[in-house]
């Protein structure tokens, strides 16, 4: 009986602090896309967030169907490493998205995308297996070209009835913009 009590007590203390810890553990069935984002141009003062967004296909059928986001990237830096955890599969479009304070994610968020190393005129495709980490997915994010989406993506947006023209400040014009906030 004493032994049982001792084991119970010991296991209780051994269990302390278990569960989630400060260091994120990777979910085994997920894969990882990682690399470096290099920023060009001046960071806008109104920056709220910058993230890497991963889409299944290029051009995406629905611009808002993002399969995974990175955590927010540090603001004001010249370059930073990033990591996005994704379900195993092939991803056709990996892009960097910016959001200003009080603004929402949208076509005007686009800053740059991962390009095919063999044909830099096209976005690069990445295939990730379960538990696999695919590195070297480096992206150039240029603030001077904010909102300048590739023509294929604009075409898809227009097919869906969205008239998209990047405004001079990169905010773009489309449904929802300019609606007064309650």
């Amino acid at each position: 009986m004493k032994k049982v009590r001792y084991i119970l007590l010991l296991s209780a203390f051994a269990a302390c602090g278990k569960g989630i810890g400060p260091t994120p553990k990777e979910v085994p069935e997920l894969g990882v896309i990682c690399g470096t984002v290099k920023f060009l141009g001046a960071w806008p003062d109104s920056t709220a967030e910058v993230r890497v967004a991963v889409y299944e296909e290029y051009p995406p059928k629905n611009f808002y169907d993002v399969k995974a986001f990175s955590d927010p990237l540090p603001v004001g830096v010249d370059s930073t490493a990033y990591k996005v955890m994704v379900s195993p599969g092939t991803y056709g479009w990996i892009m960097v998205a910016w959001r200003g304070e009080g603004r929402f994610w949208g076509p005007e968020s686009f800053l740059g995308m991962y390009l095919d190393p063999d044909d830099p005129s096209h976005p690069g495709e990445v295939t990730v297996g379960p538990g696999e980490e695919v590195g070297g997915i480096d992206i150039l994010a240029d603030f001077s070209k904010r909102g300048q989406l590739p023509p294929e993506v604009i075409e898809v947006l227009e097919e869906q009835g969205v008239t998209y023209r990047p405004a001079p400040d990169g905010r773009g014009l489309g449904p929802g913009t300019g609606v007064p906030r309650r």
Partner: protein
């Protein structure tokens, strides 16, 4: 029969007799007596108190008092003794230990009805003394608006209940009964104080200050002439275990009760509560899980709630009774966030009239309800919703061993004076068969629905970087619930086993508007939840008492390619292209062992939920199962009870809602005094 003092006289011929005394609530006392001719013998019999073990009676399942064994649907009861042994700050802390009940970020679900609905209203109806406690704007539940210290009993009905209760009773009904005024003067005081432990991981230690909390509750009850009066008030304050986790709450309650004439009862309850709290939306990062992103530091919410509930019950003899109820529930909140200052005022007002009649083996319940939601909000706009409903329920006992129940309710909801009109017809059927004195078999099926709240239909705001737009075309969520159960009572053991299947249509979720940067609430999901639940309670030797509840579910969402027949038959058709419903653990276990010896008591409680297989917002985040152990100990000295409690003894860290760490270990000392 003895007189009121227990005196009796028996005239008997000479001889030897055994005299036995019986009294409800006492054990029998016997004595052998020899009577000689002409003698008068004085016999004193001492009765020993033996509390009655009457079968529990519930009212929520059928809107009338009924022994639990005759209820055709799974029903759990949290009684006075359990509530007293486990003093809780808020009602949701108690509900976490009811089998089949889940809580996530303040949203309650029954048997996986609600994962984390992100802005959808409650799929479980909460009633306080018979009146709905669902807010008029968001259709949600404010747990701090329920007077936890004044709760006498809680009943949880698991399964669609719209045939009697209408909207929100889609997955079940939770009813809270508050304490009634006592006949003799009674003052009750409870003081609790405690602190959170330091976070286990040094990286999470964000504050050098000891994070403390306290609460103070005082209640007085007495008779004033023909009136029973209860007044109570409380103050609760906490620093919180994480940034923006602090709160300050005040509450006042008054209750009057009277019996104006024989066979009648009237009561009136007024309840006011306010809360000023910080807002923790999500953590800064997993490395800083108890901190909010810097810009959110100082985000706060102030809210106020005022509830009025009055009822009058009149019995015209044992066969006929009528009940009239009126209620209002006014809520107000104001967000002081770094990027928005929204506010909302809502008033839900309603009334109900009900008649109950018994004709031999048949009994009828017939009623009607009218409710109105009025909302004025910077986020949802100004809107009015009307609900009108009528219902009927019949219970038939074709034999002493069988009870059959049939019910039907019609609801009509009118939005903004007729812009949108919705009608719902909700039937139910239930049966119980007593297989033996110890064993009862039950079966039930019923329909549920939830009318979208004003917030779901009309939210117009920027939330977390997205623009949310109204969707006035939103339809009600619908459900059908099916259950077969077996209840077995033997001596000190009660076992209840239930097999269930719940079908859901048009569950509301946030959805991107195709081809635009907008989000709106939409009817998205068709779901099916199948499962089994086991609920065991046992009185054990040496003053021990144990309970165990286990629920296993298979929660799937998908579609039926070519549905045929009426909705309730779709349960038999296979769900295609199905995948796991998000935020639903498949396994849940709650267990407790309580011990009582003289003035001392102790309890260990454990709850487990398996790792959720799917989440929607951050699937890349680490997910873990939940293992939580709580310890309680107490000693009763005269009219005072001192208790000590450790919550999350093992400092186990988990999230119920993504990027929200559940409470870390805390220590509480409580003094309860009854004067």
């Amino acid at each position: 029969m003895t007189d009121l003092e227990g005196r009796f006289v028996l005239e008997v011929p000479p001889g030897t007799y055994t005299v036995e005394a019986l009294l409800v609530g006492y054990g029998p006392a016997r004595r052998e007596v020899e009577i000689s001719p002409g003698d008068t013998t004085k016999v004193v019999l001492k009765l020993e108190e033996r509390p009655l073990k009457l079968p529990p009676v519930v009212v929520t399942a059928t809107k009338k008092a009924q022994p639990l064994r005759e209820v055709p649907i799974s029903t759990s009861v949290v009684g006075k003794d359990e509530l007293r042994a486990r003093p809780a700050q808020t009602l949701d802390q108690v509900l976490r230990y009811v089998p089949g009940v889940e809580l996530k970020g303040g949203e309650v679900g029954i048997r996986a009805s609600t994962g984390y609905s992100q802005g959808a209203g409650s799929r479980v109806l909460l009633l306080v003394d018979g009146a709905p406690a669902i807010t008029g704007d968001t259709g949600g539940i404010n747990w701090d608006a329920i007077p936890a210290g004044e709760i006498e009993r809680i009943e949880v009905v698991k399964g669609a209940g719209s045939a009697l209760y209408g909207s929100n009773a889609m997955a079940g009904v939770i009813q809270v009964f508050t304490r009634r005024p006592s006949r003799t003067p009674r003052t009750w005081l409870r003081m609790a104080a405690g602190c959170y432990d330091r976070p286990y991981h040094p990286e999470w230690r964000w504050s050098s200050k000891l994070r403390t909390f306290y609460s103070f509750e005082l209640s007085h009850s007495r008779r004033l002439g023909p009136l029973g009066v209860l007044i109570s008030g409380s103050r609760q304050r906490s620093d919180g275990y994480r940034q923006n986790g602090d709160y300050l709450r005040h509450r006042l309650m008054g209750k009057l009760e009277a019996e104006p004439f024989p066979g009648s009862r009237a009561d009136l309850t007024l309840h006011w509560a306010e809360e000023d709290r910080g807002q923790f939306l999500y953590w800064k990062s997993q490395e800083h899980a108890l901190e909010v992103p810097e810009e959110m530091l100082g985000d706060r919410v102030y809210s106020g709630k005022f509830r009025f509930n009055g009822s009058f019950r009149l019995a015209f003899g044992p066969e006929l009774a009528a009940l009239f109820r009126g209620y209002t529930y006014r809520t107000y909140w104001h967000n002081f966030f770094h990027d928005s200052h929204d506010r909302s005022r809502a008033l839900r007002a309603g009334c109900e009239a009900r008649a109950e009649a018994s004709l031999g083996e048949l009994s009828f319940t017939l009623g009607g309800e009218v409710a109105r939601d009025g909302v004025s909000s910077s986020m949802f706009g100004d809107h009015r919703l009307w609900d009108v409903a009528g219902y009927v329920q019949t219970e038939w006992k074709p034999s002493p061993l069988t009870t059959l129940t049939l019910g039907l309710r019609y609801d009509r909801q009118v939005v903004d004076g007729g812009d949108k009109v919705e009608s719902q017809v909700s039937p139910k059927f239930g049966a119980t068969f007593r297989l033996s004195p110890e064993m009862v078999l039950r079966a039930s099926m019923g329909r549920g629905f939830r009318a979208p709240s004003v917030a779901e239909r009309f939210t117009d705001a920027y939330i977390a970087g997205f623009r949310v737009v109204p969707n006035p075309e939103l339809r009600p969520e619908r459900s059908w619930g099916y259950e077969v159960g077996l209840r077995w009572t033997s001596g000190n053991l009660v076992a209840d086993l239930a097999l269930f299947q719940n079908e859901y249509w048009d569950l509301v979720e946030p959805q991107a508007v195709p081809g635009s940067p907008l989000v709106r609430m939409a009817n998205v999901t068709r779901a099916r939840v199948r499962g089994v639940e086991l609920d065991l309670t046992a009185g054990l030797p040496l003053g021990f008492y144990g309970s165990l509840g286990y629920t296993y579910i298979v929660p799937r969402e998908g579609r039926i390619a070519q549905p045929y027949g009426p909705e309730f038959l779709q349960a038999l058709q296979p769900l295609e292209d199905s995948r796991e419903l998000p935020y639903r653990p498949r396994n849940r276990l709650v267990a407790s062992v309580r011990w009582k010896g003289g003035p001392f008591s102790a309890e260990a409680r454990f709850r487990y939920a398996s790792r959720v297989r799917r989440v929607k917002m951050y699937p890349q985040d680490e997910r873990v199962p939940q293992y939580v152990v709580d310890l309680l100990g107490g000693v009763r000295l005269r009219n005072c009870t001192f208790s000590f409690r450790v919550d999350n003894l093992l400092q186990y860290h988990y999230t119920e809602v993504e990027r929200n760490l559940a409470p870390i270990r805390s220590f509480t000392v409580t003094l309860t005094a009854e004067l």
